[in-house]
């Protein structure tokens, strides 16, 4: 058996970002942090996708995480990045645990449509609610870490380091999870659920667990995005946001836990470059890229790296 190099690579990425961070321009750190936030969401979607499920409403948990972080700052004055991420993850996980009882019964297109409906419910609630900032959204307190406010100019670096730590830990945990029997059940569920049941495993329970993990990650990503951007609005729950996350997941592929983060960074890069070159056709570039990916690289960018490796 080959040695598992994933933890090593993750550690190297962490070291690289910590070491190189101070020398990178703020805008790049920003893109990096948002990439990690989106990568977390995509990591969760990857878990579901491995079981053949596509959630068209992952923005629900992204938004829950973001608004939890925002509320924490506005109501309780908590602006600690890690605390916000933990809180966002916890609230999202709880919501997903409840909704999971319902969603775990659904497959295919119906799973997607029901998750879409749920995220649009949240969007509808926030848009029409003045206390939640309505369509204008709310501002989030500037980030702090362990009770200290970083010096001006070091905020971005502090956040990116915290985000990388959280992202690496999340990726490692998911990596471990994928090696457990419950984690390995995913492709089997995708393949043939009834045989999974004959084997004595509960597909519904496995999907419920995956759904909660995915939501936890999305909540964490949402909180991170909230504190990075400094602003939250209902668009975070809109279906186009969910669409972006699916885009990233498809782009990345399901081969490895690093893939979603890589996918998110590539997405950020395409987005930034396309928007810079031609602000009115960046969506076209994204759409064309997605089409090309589905046709030519159905297993995502990761399949380029892992071509010779057996699953």
């Amino acid at each position: 058996m080959r040695r598992d190099r994933t933890p090593l690579v993750l550690g190297a990425i962490l070291a690289a970002i910590v070491a190189a961070g101070p020398f990178l321009p703020p805008w790049l750190l920003f893109i990096l942090t948002i990439g990690i936030a989106r990568g977390m969401v995509a990591l969760g979607l990857m878990l579901l996708l491995r079981a053949g499920l596509v959630s068209f409403g992952q923005a629900l948990y992204y938004c829950i995480g973001a608004y939890t972080a925002g509320a924490l700052g506005i109501r309780l004055g908590v602006s600690d990045v890690l605390l916000q991420m933990l809180a966002g993850a916890a609230v999202a996980a709880f919501a997903a645990w409840i909704l999971g009882f319902l969603l775990a019964r659904y497959r295919g297109i119906f799973f997607g449509l029901l998750s879409l409906a749920l995220s649009m419910i949240l969007y509808g609630l926030i848009v029409k609610n003045e206390a939640l900032g309505s369509t204008d959204g709310l501002n989030v307190l500037p980030s702090t870490l362990f009770g200290t406010r970083p010096h001006e100019g070091w905020v971005r670096y502090t956040v990116v380091v915290a985000a990388t730590f959280a992202g690496v830990i999340a990726a490692l945990l998911v990596h471990r999870y994928l090696q457990t029997p419950l984690g390995r059940l995913a492709p089997a569920i995708k393949d043939n659920e009834i045989r999974v049941e004959y084997m004595g495993a509960s597909a519904r329970r496995a999907i419920h667990v995956k759904y909660v993990i995915a939501a936890t990650l999305a909540g964490m990503g949402g909180a991170l995005a909230a504190t990075t951007v400094g602003h939250i609005d209902p668009e975070m729950a809109y279906w186009t946001t969910s669409g972006e996350f699916i885009f990233i997941t498809i782009l990345a592929g399901t081969g490895n836990v690093i893939a979603p983060f890589l996918g998110a960074l590539i997405f950020g890069a395409i987005h930034t470059v396309a928007y810079d070159l031609s602000p009115n056709t960046w969506q076209m570039t994204l759409g064309a890229a997605l089409l090309a990916l589905i046709v030519f690289l159905p297993n995502g960018v990761w399949s380029l790296f892992a071509r010779r490796k057996a699953a």
């Binding site: 596509v54 297109i109 029901l114 409906a117 509808g124 848009v127 186009t240 669409g243 089409l291 589905i294």
Partner: protein, 298 residues
């Protein structure tokens, strides 16, 4: 309780609009098993074509009464330009893929079409209020209603009735039903399934475009117009049952009434209730209100 008439009137008008917007979606799903995100793009294309063609028509001083025909023609024209291109050029190579993957492909196409619209028409808003304003208004329960809304209701009835007649009473419709039930056997029996897919996709998209072009006079046509319509028509179609024609009608009426009730009595939950109903229907009858049992595959 004197609000009850306006509530019903608003509900019917909104239902009619929803029905026109959603009926094509259910047709395309019913025949091709595609949850078609580009439906919203065709709605937007129709709105832009309707606004710009009718604007040009009126600017030339041609008879304004014929502008309704121009709205219809604009929608038909723009669909004939784009729909066959998309179906023949891209979608037909994808039918073997999973339902969810095809949904993603139409999402990608939606992104492309969003910007195509910006490239053709720019990002400035278009207005053509004449077809809307020139009919005047009538009163229901003391509130004025633009007469134009009756055209929408009429259009919904014609579209729904026409499609039902087409499917049930014509040779083409019966052959289409055969294709729906088993594309492979139909092919073996000598039916040109590809052509039926092409026609269905074009016709379904055209209904969306008509919805868009007849909405254009009542709003300002701006980029991103079709984005909301996609989820709304998903809600309508899912409530009634994907692929069911009476289901889409029922879904439109339910969403229309629920929305108008909430707008009149509790405006802050307007959007919430629509998707709440959608979630509830999915929770209790996942295949919609009008659906049949499906066999489980082993």
């Amino acid at each position: 309780m004197d609000q009850i008439l306006p509530v019903i009137a608003d509900g019917i008008i909104y239902s009619a609009w929803l029905f026109i917007a959603a009926i094509g979606l259910t047709l395309i799903y019913g025949v091709m098993k595609i949850v078609n995100v580009t439906h919203g793009s065709f709605y937007a294309l129709g709105a832009y074509a309707g606004a710009s063609f009718t604007g040009a028509w009126l600017a030339h001083g041609y008879p304004p009464l014929l502008s309704y025909a121009v709205l219809l023609g604009a929608a038909a024209f723009i669909t004939l330009v784009f729909a066959p291109l998309i179906e023949r050029g891209i979608l037909r190579f994808m039918y073997a893929k999973d339902e969810v993957v095809i949904l993603l492909i139409t999402y990608a196409l939606f992104l492309v079409l969003e910007d195509t619209i910006k490239l053709i028409w720019g990002v400035n808003p278009y207005y053509v209020a004449e077809p809307y304003a020139m009919l005047g208004s009538f009163d229901i329960g003391g509130l004025p209603y633009p007469t134009y809304n009756l055209i929408l209701v009429g259009l919904a009835l014609v579209a729904g009735g026409g499609l039902a007649w087409l499917l049930r009473s014509t040779r083409v419709g019966k052959l289409l039903t055969v294709v729906i039930h088993d594309p492979e056997v139909s092919r073996a029996m000598g039916i040109n399934v590809g052509r039926y897919y092409l026609v269905t996709f074009t016709f379904g998209s055209m209904l969306a475009a008509i919805g868009g072009s007849f909405t254009a006079p009542t709003v300002s046509v701006v980029p991103g117009l079709g984005v909301d319509v996609i989820v709304l028509s998903f809600a309508v179609v899912v409530i009634g049952g994907l692929g069911s024609l009476p289901g889409a009608a029922l879904g439109a009426v339910i969403v229309g009434l629920v929305r108008s009730i909430s707008v009149h009595y509790a405006p802050q939950v307007e959007l919430f209730v629509i998707y709440f109903v959608m979630a509830m229907v999915l929770a209790f009858r996942p295949r919609g209100l009008f659906s049949l049992a499906e066999p489980r595959k082993i």
